[in-house]
Amino acid sequence: MNVLSQTEFSGPTMGIGMADGESAVTARGVDVYYGDKHAIKNLSVDIPAKAVTAFIGPSGCGKSTFLRCVNRMNDTIPICRVTGDIKLDGRDIYDPTLDVVQLRAQVGMVFQKPNPFPKSIFDNVAYGPKIHGLTSNKTELAELVEKSLRRASLWEEVKDRLDASGTGLSGGQQQRLCIARAIAVSPDVILMDEPCSALDPIATAKIEELIDELRQNYTIIIVTHSMQQAARVSQKTAFFHLGTLVEEGPTKTIFTNPHDKRTQDYITGRFG
């Protein structure tokens, strides 16, 4: 379970010149409590930059919880307490002097259920750049919105109705709109919590394609319950069980030659 072995096996990552130790996110000895409940126990993991890392594991094992630690969304849950060390590009994200707003601009999130704002498609995408002051005038903003929608491969479908409500789109389109909204602020890391769980296979395929493209520029962590999806889109896979990280490594290794019995049982569908 070390960084070295991981980089050796993650084939596609090597293609874009991923050097040893270039981790976007590193977690060391992280514990998360919901009140008395110990949801994550002494977790350490490295997330490689400009690659897709998949979190898999049975329901309730703490995947979402850990994901939400990375952009401090857990702060919004009053009973939630996080200890340990999580670094983004070498900077401690739980440092009291760190501005949460900046962190979240740097770490975008796509939620399990598509949650566009009840505003126009344009406003959905433009909201992030507006609050962070990323553009100086209207044309720049419009260009940024178009660029983001194009990258989320939604532009062709919505370019004629940017004023229509974001909630009026289909589920798959909504999810792509949420992705466009997340990438509009040019984050370094995108967290995706089961982004395809509410989508049909065609929409899922589109999003997977999109994730594969986004990997060129972004560090992506994706939580998924679909082994095939994890195998298709990710370069690294981490298997969670009962709040602990059981095994991590290059996706190929995890799926073809897992070290741990529990991992093997899980990916072969023997428990879940």
Partner: protein
């Protein structure tokens, strides 16, 4: 029947074709249709009461929307209205316009000369605002001075009621015989050659019978009182009883008498005879002959042919109505002269309050209500919504906030008069704000409405799906941005609903406003929130308490207007809410 009985031997599976299962299904449908029936019945019941209430109020209000006036030619002379020949506005305003009206109306009643009669004619039948129309015309165009001008003269509330048929039932029939009369004025006797007055005699006797019965009831009451009264007052009471008994026996005897003549008094309906261009009020009446007093002089004492004279019955006895037979005869004469017109009572909408029913209007109360509501809305909407946002989104959840929440809920249930007392103590006594002003009224009502708005706004905020908050926060919005830019707009329809309910509640409030003095009689229309004012519900309360019967219709009309105000206010709020909802 339990589900278990439906199960066949094949445990856990139900055979839906079995009789037991069929019966169970039927029962389920029966329960459902019964429930639907109860629902429809409840709605029908409520609808019935609403229709009843609204139609009752509207029918009562309808008379208030019209008024009776004289359309008459008046000649405003300089000596009456333009003191010293000046025609400036101020001089004209101070002129004796009622004298101009008296001059004009007097032409039709040349025989009314003595002081008491003139007062009964001019002061009681014509409104004290009767000269307003001619005054306004002349002020607008002083060249009309000294010329005959066609003007509208408002009649008094009692005259108006009489023409609306609300003072007494009035029937008129033609005389069948030819009738002779002994004179043209003063006390006269009349005689017909058929029994023209037979039915009037019968009616007078049945009126007497009814009066005798009422007197008997009074006697019984007095007799019962005799048992408990102090010994020293017993003799006086016994005296009173004896007198009553004498009256009752006399009336009873008269009611039962046959033939002969009968006296018409305060407790019997009036009979008037209209002949030869004059009117006679009958005081003693037999089947073919009668005697009476002339109310309007006859042209001559010649015999009147059948069909050329009339018998008029006024059902309500003279003693039980505001206008005497004489005054009714005058009003009838004005009507015959074609002077009386009925028109829309615009004063109801454009005048302030008045002691005279025919001059009273609701504009003062309406303006007061509008100003008060404005103050209330301006205060309680932002404060209520911000308080709700703070409590729901920002405040830590601890004992203190729990305590605050419980107390807000309690405040919503506090009787409104308590808020009035609070307003009296704080705003009037401590801060010395102007009494009876819409400002203080609005402050008090804002206190009253705040809990409602806070509670419903919190509920609306709570109902916003958390995914919207997470989406905003996940993008790096601050909490305040997430709340104000995303959560609040989604919650706005709910917030507005709560505001509508609260404002509607405030609109109908009377009790707290009584405490801060908004109950005064105020003629002027308030022009700012610090001037003395009253509000519509209080106006209704005040009018409903007044003795003049004309105010009853005014009260109902004010209620109708209050309801319309409410509908307009709610309509505006619902329109706003729709706009928020339709946006996405």
């Amino acid at each position: 029947m339990t589900d278990a009985t439906l199960q066949t031997a094949d445990a856990g599976r139900v055979d839906f074709r079995s009789p037991a299962a069929q019966a169970h299904l039927r029962k389920r449908y029966a329960v459902e249709s019964r429930f639907k029936f109860y629902g429809v019945a409840a709605i029908a019941f409520a609808a019935f009461f609403i229709v009843f209430l609204v139609s009752d109020i509207v029918t009562k209000a309808i008379p208030a929307f019209t008024e009776h006036r004289l359309s008459i030619t008046l000649t405003p002379t300089a000596e009456r209205v333009a003191e010293g020949g000046r025609t400036d506005r101020q001089t004209l305003m101070a002129g004796d316009w009622n004298a101009v009206v008296r001059d004009g109306v007097g032409k039709y009643f040349p025989d009314v000369t003595n002081r008491a009669q003139r007062s009964k004619l001019y002061n009681e039948l014509i409104s004290i605002g009767g000269g307003d129309d001619i005054r306004n015309r002349v002020i607008a165009d002083p060249s009309l001075l000294g010329k005959p001008v066609q003007a509208q003269v408002l009649l008094s509330d009692d005259s108006d009621l009489y023409f609306k048929g609300m003072m007494t039932e009035r029937t008129e029939r033609e005389g069948r015989g030819s009738i002779g009369v002994s004179g043209t004025s003063g006390d006269v006797s009349i005689a017909t050659n058929v029994n023209d007055f037979a039915q009037d005699v019968a009616r007078v006797r049945s009126d007497l019978q009814a009066a005798a019965r009422r007197a008997q009831l009074e006697i019984n009451r007095l007799k019962a009182a005799l048992e408990t009264v102090a010994p020293d007052r017993r003799a006086a009471l016994q005296d009173q009883i004896n007198r009553q008994i004498a009256v009752a026996t006399d009336m009873d005897r008269r009611a039962k008498s046959v033939g002969g003549t009968e006296l018409i008094g305060d407790s019997t309906s009036s009979v008037l005879v209209k002949m030869n261009g004059g009117v006679i009020k009958l005081t003693e009446i037999g089947n073919e002959k009668a005697s009476g007093t002339v109310l309007i002089p006859l042209k001559d004492a010649s015999e009147a042919k059948p069909g050329s004279w009339k018998i008029i019955n006024l059902t309500t006895p003279e003693g039980s109505r505001k206008l005497s037979d004489q005054q009714i005869a005058w009003l009838d004469r004005m009507k015959e002269e074609g002077l009386v017109t009925q028109a829309f009572a615009s004063r109801l909408f454009f005048s302030g309050d008045s002691r005279e029913p025919e001059l009273a209007g609701i504009i003062g109360g309406l303006t007061g209500t509008a100003l008060t509501m404005l103050v209330t809305l301006v205060l309680c909407l932002p404060i209520g919504v911000l308080a709700a946002i703070y409590l729901e989104e920002f405040a830590p959840k601890n004992r203190l906030t729990d305590f605050i929440e419980i107390n807000i809920n309690n405040l919503a249930a506090v009787p409104s008069i308590v808020f009035g007392l609070l307003g009296l103590a704080i705003f009037l006594n401590t801060f010395d704000m102007p009494r009876s002003s819409p400002l203080v009224g609005g402050l008090v009502l804002a206190l009253l409405v705040l809990p409602t708005i806070i509670i419903s706004s919190r509920a609306a905020l709570k109902a916003v799906p958390p995914s919207i908050r997470e989406a905003a926060l996940g993008l790096g919005a601050s909490k305040q941005q997430a709340v104000f830019q995303h959560v609040l707009p989604v919650a706005m329809p709910g917030v507005l609903t709560g505001t509508i309910i609260g404002m509607a509640h405030a609109l109908g409030e009377t009790a707290p406003l009584l405490m801060i003095g908004m109950v005064a009689f105020i003629i002027d229309v308030p022009r700012s929130v610090t001037e003395s004012a009253t509000v519509l519900p209080v106006q209704i309360f005040l009018w409903s308490d007044l003795p003049e019967p004309a105010f009853q219709a005014k009260t109902a009309a004010a209620i109708v207007i209050l309801l319309l105000f409410l509908f307009v206010m709610n309509g505006a709020a619902i329109w706003l809410r729709r706009r928020f909802e339709r946006r996405w």
